[in-house]
């Protein structure tokens, strides 16, 4: 502290840093706190014009009523029907492609990889309508297949990129040893590469979960017509559009239910998420 007092400018700068960071953090967290608070308020308190952060009484039954009025378990199962095949199918196809681009040799490899990267920059807007029409021609609208098939085939350039970067970091000696032992490329991928790749597998799994859980526009066009097919995100949207007079406490309860899994996954895999997100910036 004496060192700080000796240099008033430094002291002011450090105080200002903490002031901005703390005020900013509180400002950003406020909407979340307010959401939880609203979700636990009785109807009369929701429309009070005072700021009551901790509700009294705590109306936990808002959550019970939410489940009574809306088929949330169905929405959840529907989301899982999209998520689970996408998660495991994509895991295999994307990591095989990442392995090929990172560790195998074949003519045109690097040119093809540039094409993979460039698809990341292709705006989704030019795919939206033709994909709907293509799936419509084969009668797959109002099924989960339009959301599953692209993921199973590894239509995720970013994941392929993540796998490739990770696989390139595995020491060459391991591959040489495996080849001397007579392992095929498929064997190397299955027995050497995958067991070593838990960090990147976790990163991709988390991103796949976030994507399937958060995605809105594509489920809306493929599944929006029939309520029994709705995913969690569509169900939340449905609450907004159906009711004229909105039950804010129940809407916020649903929002809390949407957010909790995301936060749990974040708490569990924070390191992987942060590493994966920063990988996007390293391409430079």
């Amino acid at each position: 502290m004496t060192a700080l007092a000796a240099n008033p400018f430094r002291f002011i700068r450090i105080s200002l840093t903490y002031l901005i960071l703390t005020a900013g953090a509180l400002l950003l967290l406020f909407p979340l706190v307010w959401t939880i608070s609203t979700s636990l308020k009785i109807a009369e308190k929701v429309t009070l014009t005072t700021i009551e952060l901790i509700p009294n009484p705590i109306a936990w039954w808002n959550y019970v009523e939410l489940f009574q009025r809306h088929p949330i378990p169905t929405y959840f199962i529907n989301t899982m029907k999209v998520l689970i095949p996408a998660l495991f199918g994509g895991l295999i196809t994307c990591s095989l492609a990442g392995f090929a681009f990172g560790r195998l040799r074949f003519p045109g490899r690097d040119v093809i990889f540039v094409i993979v990267l460039s698809t990341m920059m292709l705006p989704y807007v030019v795919r939206l309508i033709p994909l709907y029409i293509m799936f419509d021609q084969v009668g797959l609208i109002n099924t989960f297949w339009p959301l599953i098939i692209p993921r199973i085939l590894g239509h995720d350039a970013f994941y392929i990129f993540l796998y490739r970067q990770f696989f390139r970091g595995i020491p060459e000696d391991l591959f040489d040893a495996a080849r001397v032992d007579g392992l095929s490329d498929l064997g190397i991928w299955a027995r050497i590469v995958l067991p070593l790749s838990k960090p990147v597998l976790a990163t991709v799994a988390i991103f796949s979960f976030q994507y399937a859980w958060n995605d809105f526009l594509f489920p809306l066009i493929y599944l929006g017509a029939k309520k029994i097919n709705w995913t969690m995100a569509l169900g939340l949207y449905g609450m907004r559009s159906l009711e004229g007079e909105m039950l804010w406490q129940q809407l916020m309860a649903y929002a809390v239910i949407m957010i909790i899994p995301v936060l749990l996954v974040f708490a569990w895999g924070q390191r992987h998420i942060v590493e994966g997100t920063t990988m996007t910036g390293l391409r430079g």
Partner: protein, 322 residues
């Protein structure tokens, strides 16, 4: 990186007789396995990138609506002439989207950069602050939009209540045309943590010795920022800028949650993507909507090319670029 060919051929090929046919087959087709491994991706590339793109281009010259694709009738440039001469909602959508992009992208980058700089100045409790700033960006877009629909509510919303404490009259965020786009920008700014994390990682990669060198030369914090940090961060800023622009041109969810398909008061919330959505999935004017999509694609392409072309003037790559 040296990559070895898949099978293990070597100088002993001369002993051909002792090598089984399988080994020889493997050697001859040693590249096959690589192509096989990328085959699923390649199929997805064909089916979900190439063919949709061509189909989108073709449909934009037709009057296709619903049913078998054979019903699509070629009408030449009619969709495009209608868009540019007889569709006031097209211009409205372009204007609103540009307003949103010009507001949301630079503000998001500035906030993200400033917070990342502060977090990088050896603060205590870095993990807690980083989590607090990052977590909102993880909230699903539908949930975030609904949360702000509630917070921005004119009568009961928390923001107007807080503004009331300092004597500001309630703002009609979602029913006054002039406040609609600031409201959507606020939702997007709530998620600036994702860019902040990328900036922070970039800042942490700058070697400490470089800062020490500036200190030895008598430079202060300002010199460090202007002559060292910002130049070294330009590649990351450039990346976040491009991703931000591509994303903001295609903004859909907050506008759709706030105003549905109407576009809000005086169409002030009619963003370009909502206009596309309406034409495609409400009016089933698929050909027309495809033309709108292609125009947006070209706009994004032009912006990206301009940014990339001008980048060598301001983006600094250590080691002379790759």
């Amino acid at each position: 990186m040296t990559d070895h060919p898949s099978a293990a051929p070597n100088s002993k090929v001369t002993q051909a007789t002792s090598i089984s046919w399988l080994t020889r087959f493997r050697y001859r087709h040693r590249y096959l396995i690589g192509y096989l491994f990328i085959l699923p991706w390649f199929l997805s590339f064909l089916w979900f990138d190439v063919i949709p793109f061509i189909l989108n281009l073709y449909l934009s010259f037709t009057n296709y609506s619903v049913g078998p694709l054979t019903r699509a009738k070629w009408i030449g440039l009619e969709n495009y002439t209608t868009i540019f001469t007889a569709d006031p909602r097209f211009l409205k959508g372009v204007g609103n989207t540009l307003y949103y992009a010009i507001g949301a992208v630079p503000l998001g980058l500035i906030f993200a950069f400033i917070i990342a700089l502060l977090l990088n100045s050896r603060v205590r409790g870095l993990g807690v602050y980083r989590t607090a700033f990052y977590v909102p960006s993880l909230v699903p877009a539908v949930a975030a939009s609904l949360i702000f629909l509630w917070i921005l509510n004119t009568n009961y919303g928390a923001l107007n209540r807080l503004l009331g404490l300092v004597g500001i009259e309630p703002i009609r965020w979602l029913s006054r045309p002039e406040w609609v786009k600031p409201a959507v920008i606020i939702v997007s700014l709530w998620g600036f943590g994702a860019q902040m994390i990328i900036f922070l990682a970039g800042l942490q990669d700058i070697p400490r010795e470089l800062y020490e060198a500036v200190e030895i030369d008598g430079g202060n914090s300002w010199h460090k920022l202007i002559h060292l940090t910002i130049p070294l961060m330009t590649p990351v800023i450039f990346f976040n800028l491009i991703v931000g622009i591509i994303g903001s041109f295609q903004v859909f969810t907050p506008a759709y949650i706030f105003f549905g398909t109407d576009g809000g008061p005086l169409n002030a919330g009619l963003f370009y993507m909502v206009h596309i959505y309406n034409n495609a999935f409400r009016f089933f004017k698929m050909g027309y909507a495809s033309a709108l999509s292609l125009i947006l694609f070209v706009a994004i392409l032009i912006f990206t090319i301009i940014l990339v072309r001008t980048s060598d003037r301001w983006v600094f790559y250590a080691g002379g670029g790759r």
